[in-house]
């Protein structure tokens, strides 16, 4: 619908512009020929304008590619299955549906115009394995798979793509297996495997498992890839006839099925939208003897895929670059209208109406925008393809580091199935937005042009605001100031932090307009400083601090305020920068004139320089933010190394249902210490009756290293602080005083618990229904019954917590095993923690290889803390690298912007350059003056972006969102990036600077275009 409206709007606009061109041939001729007047100008204007389109298209393409990948996985998993019907009989509660019972429903569905396929199946999740080894359920020899019995002829007519050409001529115990299963268990056609229809049969040692023969191996896609609605990650599929399936599952009811699969009209995605109507149809035609469960699986999957919206992330990042692009466009058209002022003034003098004169600029701008949008689309697609490639490589590299079997294989599958894709409407939206934004700026410029004073325009006299315009601006600003104050009062009364903050900042920034022009600069400066200080310390105001962790709008408002106030401060005080630098360089005899001219051109052209500084600052600001935040997290991660396993190098986890046996490791000489923790869920009883379920780690008598983690990582109650000197002492203290707990820092915030608090804990057996609310790792239940409290453990004291939100595997309550009854730990998962011999990671890694030979044979996984830290830091760095690459492209805005300014300056100042050379400026001096002017603007923009970015980060890190993580600034990265950006900007202005320096003074002085 939206796209149709846009198509009509764009087509109508194009037609209107074209008709207008035909009716105003002279304006069209002038506008059109202006494009070819200065090719370098045209090139830069188009280059600057296309960046917005490219970033928008790039963001859309990123989203489309991710969505397509998810959709392709949905297709692989469900094919055209849209709705799954399961049922139990009302009389016997039997989960099987007899063919006769649902025949009329199936027939009714087939006749419906909403459905193009119905097929009943006999299916269940089962365990298969190498004969004799299935019951042990060891990963190397067994797999949990999806067994599906399905009629061959019914598949053929299921859905619109009838391409399932699989031979179903199977013997009595013959099956088809998926390539995945064959690969996992190293199977080939003719091999025999055991099938265990239920995991509980493993304990029935006398029960003999049926053997099946593999008669075909296929890549399961579409309906054959269906693996049930639970979306558990099966190790593959087994497909056979319904008769064979019933036999294997021991279903002794003729023609019984377990599920009815329905395909809606349309392809595998488009059909999902009919699901609700199909559901209604099924309910209306369902046999009365059945209790139906209708699962609209496709609709749910498609919805969640559509909500992934990765484009929002990239669009949010692009926002700053696009905003910088808009500033660039404003600057371009500001300069364009300045440049064309005399000739347009002449046209006005010759009798052209205001409208016709503005059409000249409109047509010229229209051609630039059209060209920029057309080129911007493929450029944006190129960017996203490049970034997606980086993303795939990152994902593949990361999965290769994950120490789980199959992770690397999954990475390779991802690499093969993930590819660049963009929907036609995304191209159109990008093109449309890319066209509309510059056109809006052009229209604004046209308005300015139409209002010019003819005499001043013809004589080249600068036009300033008229008294009337100044009055209007003042009235609007004062009105804004009063509204701001009213918003502050109203927000204070309604406890709205966002309103309070924005109202206050607006009032502060508009405050200078209450004063006359002559002293406004002083008040703008004071207001800018006040706005920054207010933002930085806003968390000390209750109304703001209470909401600063939750409100994204508040966070954005704060960031934007710092940036905007910083910009105001700098732009209104460019003369101070000029004065400081002129004073600094005045000792450079002979060059002080060069500095004077260059700095004056930059600092006294406030609008033009201000817009360019803003462009640079915007892009650098967002890059600074996305550099500082992950860098701080990464540092936090590295610093958490010793807290991850509470001082141990390796955590050993079991992949099977058996817990890890410490006896298997106790004699290994390369293990310097060993302990175990058991993970269980406990209930925290609140005074309100609410019970919070949370993970607890129960440590044994061996747990605790003397040296690490350092005790400084813990915040302890004074009584304990006085009695312990090392972390080892702390665990000993807890063993001697069992009714004590130590909390993880993040959990203490989530659970609102502080050191010294008394808490009531209980063991629980499970939970009934859904929690009231959850904030992982906690779930909150309304009553003790809903978590099935087993035994009250009494009152415990929170004696300490891990400072900051350090990353730890043991992210729950640490409790000594002496505090709990022995039987409460029967169902706990045990994690064995060991320290490896060696003083550095390399030495420890060499022992890891030896350790793996033991863990692999026991279906256990050893996790070396350094590997995990490396994996996580690589993930963070990789993602940030991708985001930064995207933004580096946005930097082109600034580079093109400065290049345009200097090219325009070259034309504008030709005669001045001639004069300067005549009065004694050498080539070098002219060249330097251009570069000094560039440097002044670019360096201020870069520094402003970095400083405001760092201040915003500081503000963010002081909020609850960052949970007390310490801010760390990657100065090297930031300065490196700033220097590179600066040097590229200098390079971009090399040509105009060089041309200026080489200019013959006589020719330059004679120059009239």
């Amino acid at each position: 619908m939206l796209i149709n409206v846009l198509v009509i709007a764009i087509a109508a606009s194009l037609i209107i512009v074209i008709i207008s061109m035909l009716r105003n041939k002279i304006a069209f001729k002038i506008g059109f020929r202006n494009i070819f007047r200065r090719k370098a100008d045209t090139f830069l204007v188009v280059a600057g304008s296309l960046i917005g389109t490219a970033l928008i298209v790039g963001s859309f393409a990123m989203n489309d590619s991710f969505q397509k990948f998810i959709f392709s996985q949905i297709e692989k998993r469900f094919g055209e299955v849209d709705v799954v019907v399961t049922a139990t009989t009302k009389e016997t509660n039997n989960p099987y549906i007899k063919h006769e019972t649902i025949a009329s429903l199936a027939q009714r569905l087939r006749e419906s115009e909403l459905v193009d396929g119905v097929v009943p199946i006999v299916a269940k999740e089962v365990i298969v394995g190498i004969p004799g080894k299935t019951k042990n359920m060891e990963p190397a020899f067994s797999e949990t798979v999806w067994l599906m019995g399905i009629d061959e002829e019914k598949i053929a007519n299921f859905g619109s793509n009838n391409n399932e050409e699989v031979n179903f001529e199977l013997s009595d115990n013959g099956v088809i297996v998926s390539e995945k299963l064959a690969s996992n268990l190293d199977l080939k056609i003719g091999d025999k495997i055991e099938l265990m229809r239920d995991a509980s049969l493993r304990f029935v040692f006398w029960a003999e498992l049926p053997t099946i023969t593999i008669e075909n191996i296929i890549e399961t896609e579409g309906i054959l890839g269906y693996q049930g609605t639970a979306m558990t990650n099966c190790g593959g599929s087994i497909i056979t006839t319904p008769e064979n399936a019933r036999k294997l599952l021991e279903i002794n009811i003729d023609n019984a099925y377990t599920e009815l699969l329905v395909s809606n009209k349309g392809d595998y995605i488009a059909g999902a939208k009919f699901s609700s109507r199909v559901e209604q149809l099924i309910e209306e035609n369902a046999p009365e003897s059945l209790n139906l469960r209708i699962n609209k699986i496709k609709e749910e999957q498609v919805e969640s895929a559509s909500q992934s919206n990765i484009d929002i992330l990239f669009l949010a990042l692009s926002f700053f670059a696009i905003l910088a692009g808009i500033l660039l466009l404003s600057n371009i058209y500001l300069m364009l209208t300045e440049e064309r002022r005399t000739e347009l003034g002449t046209l006005r003098a010759l009798g052209y109406t205001r409208k016709k004169v503005s059409l000249v600029v409109l047509y010229e701008g229209f051609f630039y925008s059209l060209l920029a949008s057309m080129i911007g689309v493929p450029v944006g697609m190129g960017i996203s393809e490049f970034l997606l490639d980086k993303f795939v490589n990152l994902f593949t590299n990361i999965t290769s580091l994950i120490p789980f079997e199959g992770a690397s294989q999954f990475g390779q599958t991802f690499q093969m199935s993930f590819s660049f894709y963009i929907q036609p409407q995304s191209i159109f939206y990008g093109f449309f937005l890319g066209l509309i934004v510059p056109m809006a700026v052009v229209l604004y410029s046209c308005r300015r042009i139409s209002r010019m004073n003819i005499v001043k325009a013809v004589r080249g006299i600068p036009e300033y605001f008229t008294e009337r315009s100044k009055q209007i601006i003042k009235i609007v600003a004062i009105a804004g100031f009063i509204i701001g104050l009213l918003v502050v009062i109203a927000s204070y009364n309604s406890s709205s932090a966002v309103g309070f903050f924005i109202g206050f900042v607006v009032a502060v920034l508009l405050f200078p307009f209450l004063f006359p022009d002559s002293i406004r600069r002083l008040f703008v400066t004071l207001s800018g400083i006040a706005a920054v200080i207010f933002t930085m310390f806003s968390n000390s105001i209750d109304i703001i601090s209470s909401q600063s962790g939750d409100s994204l709008v508040l966070m954005i408002a704060k960031g934007f305020t710092i940036l905007f106030a910083g910009l105001l401060l700098v732009v209104y005080n460019l003369r101070i920068f000029e004065m400081l630098l002129t004073t600094l360089f005045k000792k450079l005899r002979g060059s002080s004139g060069v500095f004077k001219v260059a700095l004056a051109f930059a600092a006294r052209n406030r609008r033009r320089t201000g817009l360019t500084i803003a462009m640079y600052a915007l892009v650098i600001y967002i890059i600074t933010l996305i550099s500082i935040i992950p860098y701080s997290q990464e540092r936090n991660l590295v610093e958490s190394r010793n807290l991850f396993f509470m001082g141990y190098d390796v955590g050993i986890l079991s992949m099977s249902r058996d817990n890890v046996d410490t006896n298997e490791y106790k004699d290994l000489d390369y293990l310097t210490s060993m302990a175990s923790v058991k993970s269980i869920n406990l209930g925290l009883n609140r005074d309100t009756g609410i019970v919070s379920r949370f993970p607890a780690y129960i440590f044994d008598e061996n747990f605790g290293s003397e040296e690490i983690p350092e005790l400084s990582n813990f915040e302890l109650i004074p009584k304990v602080r006085g009695n312990v000197e090392t972390a080892g002492d702390l665990w000993d203290y807890m063993r001697k005083n069992p009714k004590t707990v130590v909390l993880n820092g993040a959990l203490s915030m989530i659970a609102s618990l502080e050191v010294g608090d008394k808490i009531n804990l209980s063991t629980i057996t499970g939970s009934q229904g859904s929690p009231m609310s959850q904030g992982p790792p906690m779930e909150h239940y309304s009553s003790r019954d809903s978590v099935e409290v087993k035994e009250d453990l009494g009152e415990f004291t929170v004696i300490g917590k891990v400072k900051n939100s350090s990353l730890t595997f043991l992210s729950g309550f640490m409790i000594s095993e002496k505090a709990l009854p022995e039987d409460s730990l029967n169902s706990a998962t045990k994690i064995v923690l060991v320290n490896l011999l060696g003083s550095n990671t390399e030495e420890k890694e060499s022992h890891m290889d030896e350790l793996r030979t033991i863990t692999n044979s026991n279906a256990q996984i050893p996790l070396l803390v350094d590997h995990l830290i490396k994996l996580m830091t690589q993930t963070i760095r990789g993602m940030i690298d991708i985001l930064r690459s995207f933004l580096y492209f946005g930097m082109i805005v600034g580079i093109v912007g400065i290049a345009i300014i200097m090219v325009k300056a070259l034309y504008e100042r030709r005669r001045l350059v001639g004069m300067l050379k005549a009065i004694g400026f050498t080539k070098k001096m002219v060249f330097s003056s251009f570069w000094i002017e560039t440097s002044f603007t670019v360096l201020i923009g870069i520094l402003l972006g970095m400083i405001t970015g760092a201040l915003t980060s500081q503000e963010l890190f002081s909020s609850a969102t960052f949970n007390g993580i310490n801010m760390a600034i990657p100065w090297n990265q930031l300065f490196g990036m700033g220097i590179i950006f600066y040097l590229i900007s200098l390079m971009a202005t090399f040509i105009p600077s060089y041309i200026a320096s080489k200019m013959s003074p006589a020719k330059a002085l004679r120059y009239f275009e």
């Binding site: 006299i461 600068p462 005045k586 005899r589 002979g590 002080s592 004139g593 004077k596 001219v597 004056a600 051109f601 006294r604 052209n605 005669r911 001045l912 001639g914 004069m915 300067l916 050379k917 005549a918 009065i919 004694g920 400026f921 050498t922 080539k923 070098k924 001096m925 013959s1000 003074p1001 006589a1002 020719k1003 002085l1005 004679r1006």
Partner: protein
């Protein structure tokens, strides 16, 4: 006595595609120290080209220009530029003031280029602006000054470093008659005080009336030279 400026067989030919335009045809000219010389002629006769070649901001096709005994076209570009900075002043038809610098800053630019100390440059510039009648407007920007005032700033800039010779290309071209007359009186007055050489290109005979000598040009040639001894 040797002339302050000696010009011998000066030629300048422009190429416009295949067409050669002889802007200056073997010009010989001597200009004395402290003289006000006006170059008159119709538009396109080559008078501005002659001025540009004499002042060293344009290269002649052939010929010699000796100023104070130095063949300026034999110098490298940088040396020639420095020679200009030290010994010459320029007054242009369209003033060519830097719009972002105020009057005193525009004037002091000529001194700063020569490596003057900033304080002395500011003091000298203010003094010369006082002398040209703009003592009250030193901090005005060009856009805040009238045409005549802008040209006075331009004159001040040309004179502030006390050059030996001042080149003026249509200095009154953008001014009204009254202002033009005032400007010429100012030039004559400064010439009397500082004994500097002025070479003025103009197409207005009234402007040349205060000159010591007027040369008439046509089609790249000097066709006459008249001294106004009586008036002087």
């Amino acid at each position: 006595m040797m002339a302050f400026v000696e010009v011998r067989e000066l030629m300048k030919t422009y190429k416009n595609g295949e067409i050669k335009v002889e802007a200056l045809k073997e010009i010989d000219l001597d200009i004395n120290n402290g003289e006000i010389l006006s170059i008159l002629g119709p538009s396109g006769c080559g008078k501005s080209t002659l001025l540009n070649c004499l002042s060293g901001i344009d290269e002649p096709t052939s010929g010699v220009v000796n100023i104070d005994g130095i063949n300026i076209h034999g110098l490298t570009d940088d040396k020639k530029t420095r020679f200009r900075a030290k010994n010459m002043g320029f007054i242009f038809q369209f003033y060519n003031l830097i719009p972002v610098l105020n009057a005193v800053e525009n004037v002091e630019l000529a001194l700063l280029t020569l490596g003057y100390d900033e304080k002395k440059a500011r003091k000298d510039s203010a003094e010369i602006l006082e002398k040209v009648g703009l003592g009250e407007r030193t901090d005005y920007f060009p856009s805040q000054l009238s045409g005549g005032e802008r040209q006075r700033v331009s004159v001040a800039r040309a004179l502030v470093h006390k050059p030996k010779i001042i080149w003026a290309d249509e200095p009154t071209g953008a001014l009204d008659t009254k202002t033009s007359r005032e400007l010429m009186e100012l030039i004559e007055q400064l010439n009397r005080v500082y004994n500097q050489t002025f070479v003025i290109v103009t197409h207005d005979e009234r402007i040349s009336s205060g000159s010591d000598r007027v040369i008439q040009m046509d089609s790249g040639l000097i066709i006459s030279s008249k001294e106004k001894v009586m008036e002087k």
